[in-house]
Symmetry: C2
Subunit: 377 residues, 2 copies
């Protein structure tokens, strides 16, 4: 397979130059902030992508599933943070990883879970390293920095079965912002809450070595990270239309797309039918409530240049409808003939990538590699 | 593994009794209508499910990808309809299946594609069987039964490289209906349009042996199928909340669910945090514009009994938020303790099933089998 035109559609494409540029840019920024970088690998679930992140300077990773921990530990990465509050039934799996040498770190935000880990650790002769999640914006999980529960949890993580590794904050609300000023304020709040929590723990006479913050938008917007020791970010490797809407990247930075082929038309409706539906794009409609709604994705030609005005406006399982409300007069049958390839930029790279078993890596229209990715739990 | 409580979450569960009941009910209905049944296997992509459909009386299948054709042909199923207009670059794959003995049938809705198939067939010494898609409701693809293009396409499919196998209609608008009267009208229109198209072709002196109609709602709502020779339906094997909203099944018929575990709470907000997010449920929000919006899914206890009022109201990649706007006063920490398992019924079984590599088959809380499913193209 030598060019993009030899690839069967639908297929996930990764633009090699854009990927490397995105990785370099983020690592340079984290370096300039004087902190360590722990990229979140849930976006790509691909060893080739993660190796590029490590080569650029990342020393550790964040995962969203123990399957990711299994896969990346098998590839030689040892410092792994599982950044979802662990269900008690998953503790034997975590133990097995630790016993094999993985420096797996867990996350909790409540006393019941902290005690369950400490007890399980003591019973099994393993001292688990555990982060406490700090809530900075009421977005999802976490303990507020001034909540009395924070110190109770920190105290429960002192003993033979568990040790407090640090605090972790994730400003999920950054995905809803759309101006630099909003993002800077959210990033500063994320930093300040995480540092306040760490200082509250230290004020009680306990150790809190790591202060971990991050999301792609706050990592790119933060003006200072005083008191923070490490940053996490994931989707920046590929970027996507949701990120473009927040203003932290341009459309031209989006490295992931779905290659599709025109299979028909409804000229009376201005519709071009293509062979990528929601099974390829995912059902993610993340730009629906953002400044620009891209439907199921932004249409580009096979070379990756946006086709002005055209988005994927509707999907079925294996059908996509591409149209431009403003260009209904176009001769779409001649402009987009049956057999023509298009690239669709996705709303949300984490969701779209997950629909595929492999990434087809391209430079322009040249196919240079195929990278496998895994999924499941 | 002996019970549901031994299953690591998130996991896809299939209730064996409900699955068998759904398969029996649909087959009995198709039999009573006096037509053949060609179930759409894109919902399950699972040989065990398809074998149950064949055992109940189906003689042929419909697929949405050539990967499905590969997989099910390898398992001995030969009469396979690929019900998406074929991209020209996929014709060599279709040829290879036909040469190995698969009675693969293709679909077109435009003259360019019909001619491309006929030419490719002639050049390769293979006579492809081809359906023409008929548009009955302006929903997606297809030719209107009175469109002059219909006969042009039919004539292009007469020769050494292609033969017209029949006409196919799919009333996609049936998913938007919510009363029996609406569904009966849509089903009758689907039937009438398909039969009118077949008769127009026959009136021009051409053969049109198969008249294929269907969707799960119209298959269950049709009062007569006079002139139709076969029906297609897919999601009925599992059903889902979108189907329950159309009225063609009850909540108690939904055979697919996602097993998840409570990992925390935000008691101040009435939130129960669970370890199934959109990666497990999919991003499908199909009930959003229906009479009842179930968020990302309806919450049941581990035995499968709905927990009144509780839905999955928000998701991140590996986090779900379960809550009940009407029950914010509940003591959710005690009612849903950390470690408790819940089942979430999905909006759209085709999308949710696709997030998993296997189905855990259960009878009540007893785990009786693990069935693999495939994905990709």
């Amino acid at each position: 397979m030598h060019t993009l035109f030899d690839i069967q559609t639908p297929a996930a494409l990764v633009d090699a130059g854009k990927l490397q540029g995105n990785i370099r840019r983020m690592q340079a920024r984290i370096n300039s902030l004087g902190v360590r970088f722990r990229p979140h690998v849930k976006t790509s679930k691909c060893l080739d992508v993660v190796r590029a992140q490590l080569a650029a300077g990342a020393q550790r990773i964040t995962v969203s599933t123990l399957k990711e921990a299994d896969e990346f530990f098998a590839a030689g990465i040892t410092d792994i943070l599982y950044a979802v509050e662990i269900a008690p039934a998953k503790l034997p799996h975590a133990l097995e990883l630790r016993r094999r040498g993985c420096r797996l770190k867990l996350l909790v935000d409540n006393l019941d879970s902290a005690r369950a880990i400490a007890r399980f650790g003591q019973d099994s002769g393993e001292r688990f390293e555990v982060f406490v999640e700090i809530d900075t914006d009421g977005h999802r999980a976490g303990v507020k920095p001034d909540d009395a529960a924070l110190l109770e949890i920190a105290r429960a993580l002192q003993g033979p079965g568990a040790v407090l590794a640090g605090v972790l904050a994730h400003a999920g609300s950054s995905y809803d912002a759309s101006t630099p000023a909003q993002l800077q304020a959210i990033a500063e709040n994320e930093r300040a809450c995480a540092v306040a929590a760490a200082n509250a723990i230290r004020g009680a006479g306990l150790q809190c070595p790591i202060v971990s913050v991050g999301s792609t938008p706050t990592a790119l917007a933060a003006e200072t990270l005083s008191g923070v020791t490490e940053v996490r970010a994931g989707v920046y490797v590929f970027f996507d239309l949701v990120m473009a809407n927040t203003g932290v990247c341009g459309i031209e930075d989006v490295a992931l797309s779905v290659l599709t082929t025109v299979i028909g038309h409804r000229a009376d409706k201005g519709w071009v039918l293509v062979d990528a539906g929601w099974m390829a794009m995912s059902r993610d409609r993340g730009t629906q409530r953002q400044p620009i709604d891209y439907g199921y994705g932004l249409v580009c030609d096979a070379e990756g240049n946006p086709v002005p005005g055209y988005t994927m406006t509707a999907t079925n399982q294996e059908h996509g409808i591409v149209s431009s409300p403003a260009s209904a007069e176009d001769d779409i049958v001649r402009r987009f003939p049956v057999g023509m390839q298009l690239r669709i930029l996705p709303n949300h790279a984490c969701a779209t990538g997950a629909q595929f078993d492999e990434y087809n890596v391209v430079e322009g229209t040249r196919h240079i590699a195929t990278w496998s990715r895994f999924h499941g739990w």
